[in-house]
Symmetry: C2
Subunit: 155 residues, 2 copies
DNA sequence: TTTCTTGCAAACGATTTGCACTTTG
DNA sequence: CAAAGTGCAAATCGTTTGCAAGAAA
C-alpha cells in the first residue's frame, strides 16, 4: 500500500469514527490528519504544531492534543511513551517493533518476527480481545555494544 | 524462586552495580530497595514515597527518583510509561506481558508466549544486543468486550 | 578531605482545563 | 439553535535541577 493509499484509508477511517461517535468534522481535524502524513516516522505534538504553523495553518495546541487523541482512538495513530517526556506518535502499521538502546537512547525499528504477529491472531488472551501490539526491545545498539564489549547494562 | 530469594538477588545485583560504577552505598538506597519489594506489582514514585513515610522512614522525593533510576539501570526494576502520567515500576521478571484495555484502561498481566521469549535469545536483531523486552497488547478487556459486542475501537 | 548524596524548594515542561467565542449538524 | 469544538492562557502535575549541608570512601 502506498503512502497515498494509506492516507486515504486513514481519512476514511477517521470519518467513520467521527460519524459513529457523533463528533464534528471540523477543518482543523482534517488539516491535522493531513499534516500527520507529512511528518517523519516519529513526531511529538510540538513538531506537529510547528509544522502546521510553518505551512501557515494555525491551530491551538489544545486542538492539536485533542485531535491527536482522536486519531489514536480510532487506530490511525499509535502513541509511544518512550522516555518520560513528550509522547511520540506514528502512523499505525503492524509488523514492526522498536529497539531501544539503554546507553545512548537510540531507537531503531525492525519488522516483527512472524511468531509475534501470529500471537495476536490466536485466542491466547481470552477473554481479552487484542487489537494491536506495541513491543520494545531494550539493550545495546551496535555502536554502544562495540564500545562496551563486556555485556549489557541490564537484563 | 521465592520472593525472598528474588530480593536477595536484587540486593546483590544492586551492590555489584554500585561498586562497578563507584557509586555510594547509602542507607537511603537500600531502604528504598527494600520497600520496593513490599510494594504490589505496579507502583509509582508517589506510592513508594508514601509507603516509606508510613514506615517512618523519610527520604526526599528527589532521592526516591534518583534511586529508582539506578534500580532501573541495573536491571532490578522495569519502568513502564503507560498513560502519559506517572511512570509505573515493577520488579524485573521475564516472561510476562501487559494487556491494556483501550476502553477502561485496565491492565492485566499474562505470561509471554514462548515464541516471543525465544526471539530475544536469537540473533534476530544483530548488531543490536537485546537485554529485555517490554510488550503491550492493546484491545478490549473481557468486561468491555462483553459490553461492546461489535468490535474493538482500534486495530 | 574529597566527592558523592541528600533534602528542600524552585524551576520545568508536557498536558489539561476553564471560559468566552465560533462553528457544525 | 443546541451542542460541540476552538483558542488562549492559566492551572496541573510528574519530574528535574540548583544549592547548601551531610555522609561515604
Amino acid at each position: 500500500m502506498t503512502r497515498q493509499e494509506d492516507y486515504i484509508q486513514a481519512v476514511k477511517r477517521f470519518n467513520a469514527f467521527l460519524e459513529e461517535k457523533h463528533l464534528r468534522k471540523t477543518p482543523e481535524r482534517f488539516a491535522i490528519l493531513k499534516q500527520v502524513w507529512q511528518m517523519e516516522a516519529h513526531f511529538g505534538i510540538d513538531r506537529l504544531h510547528a509544522a502546521l504553523e510553518a505551512e501557515g495553518y494555525h491551530v491551538s495546541r489544545a486542538t492539536a492534543y485533542n485531535t491527536i487523541d482522536l486519531l489514536v482512538q480510532c487506530g490511525v495513530l499509535r502513541r509511544h511513551n518512550f522516555s518520560s517526556g513528550e509522547s511520540q506518535y506514528e502512523a499505525a502499521r503492524e509488523g514492526h517493533l522498536h529497539l531501544i538502546c539503554t546507553r545512548c537512547g537510540a531507537i531503531t525499528e525492525v519488522s516483527t518476527p512472524p511468531a509475534m504477529s501470529r500471537m495476536l491472531e490466536s485466542d491466547s488472551f481470552e477473554p481479552f480481545r487484542p487489537a494491536y501490539l506495541l513491543a520494545y526491545v531494550y539493550g545495546l545498539c551496535g555502536d554502544c555494544a562495540a564500545r562496551n564489549p563486556q555485556k549489557a547494562d541490564e537484563n
